[in-house]
Amino acid sequence: MTRRVLNMFLAEVTRGMRLRQTWAGVAAVAVAVGVMLARGGVARDGRADYDFIARAMPAGIGLAAFIMLLAWSACLVAPELGSGSIRLVLTRPVRRGEYVLGKFLAAAAYAALLALEASALAWAAAAVLGEITGVEFGGELLFTKEEMAFAWLGGSALAMLPLLAGAALGLFISCCTRSTGLAVSAVFGVWILLDLVKHFLGVDRLVFTTYLESCWQVLANRADGLDAEWMPMAWQCAGASLGATALLLAGAVLVMRRRDISG
């Protein structure tokens, strides 16, 4: 099974590299980080460099990468169902669950690529234009560069979780329809709806989209000279995101297994 999922994943990566929207996502993340750089700038004042990273990461990963990932993952299955090319894949030694899993792994790899790009660009800009020697206020070192790097690393690790849930959401919706346009519209519709109703229902903490930004809170606070706790946010982020990922993936597998694939 592992080999078949890996084959599916590698085939999907090969295919994905030839898609224009893959590179549109890479461009969008670069633009998001660039906009943050243009808005706030980076100075050698002992904290503006980290402040920039703390703003660039949610913009690059939590917004640009998330939007592009939603669109990308919504296009994973629906176009194949619509055109009928899915029949080529499903008449290979690949089970439908493995097909979904391979697609999800490809989306996860894409999420990792976009996150890596945002991080690399943000750190590169901060290193060139700033000092990245730690956070100082009035000559006093409040957080060392190791502490800041740890805050960034923790934020990055946590930021991947809502991205994975977003990929699973896109994939699930993509499995439910043969229309690419409908899949993309539906995935953004669900995201907007989730964000609208979660406050009214008081379930913010249970919805993974909440953590797109809040996982960077520790880094942002430290960049401002304040300390912040990881807990309970980290557990809540992991619980909400991984729970949503598991549910949506199971749903996608179920939908695919029950589907008749016709031309």
């Binding site: 078949r4 084959n7 055109s83 008449t91 690949v94 008749d260 694939i261 016709s262």
Partner: protein, 299 residues
Amino acid sequence: METCLVLDNVSKRYGRTLAVDSLCLELRRGEVMGLLGPNGAGKSTTLGMVAGLVRRTSGRIEIFGLDADRRFTDVIARMGVLVERPAFPEYLTVRRVLKWLARLSGKAVPVDWALRVTGLDAVSGVKVGRLSQGMRQRLGIAQAILAEPELLVLDEPTSGLDVESTRDTLAFLRKLADEVSVAILFSSHQMAEVELLCDRVAVMRGGRLTACERTAAVLSWDFSSLEVLCDRAEEAAAALAAERWVTTAEALPAGVRVTLRGEDADRTAAFLVSKGFQVRGIVPRRRTLEEYFLKATRP
């Protein structure tokens, strides 16, 4: 010959519509079976169920002696499938599509061979989006034979192909069946290609199997319908028409066309000779697949 495909009481229901109704079929290694039927007869659904694309409502499918559901990956790895109107990622080249599918097959299969035998080597670097319908169909055949299958399931494999390509494809498929014992189950609306390629024909109507016979038996001589080459055709026709064992007798320029109540060509010849006609030969009519098909699909 070893049985490689068994459909046992297989049914498929779409809502209230029974697309395939209690279908039973067997296909042996090296055998080519043509699945015929009018539009909506359930041919594509049947092939879809064999290929694992369509979930059956009831019944059992066994391929190479294995349960097609439980051992799906083992079974499908030994099969090649060409679906109706195959679709490919338009942005990939022909070679890249085959490599992509070869990777999914999990085998180190040579794509050059498939390109060569389907005549696609000249367009291997062309993107699928730029291919004609016929070329796409060839690509469909190429991907079906890519992993050197033991069972081929082909839904209208020559659809969109020109005369020469159709002939080459049919010859190639026949060669696969004869030389490598590949079993082939295919659907078609073209009687001529079924006659040419198939060892056995199965006819479906309204989801049910209405007839299944060896092609040689279907295309046998019909001794109840004869063309008798004789002199004085008008007189001979009149003499025959008066006999009770003759249904119709019609004069032709070189003889008589006669239909009998039984299959007794000798009696016809003896009768005409006894009446003083000079009989130069008797040609029984050859039954056609079209007749068989129309008879089997008549409501």
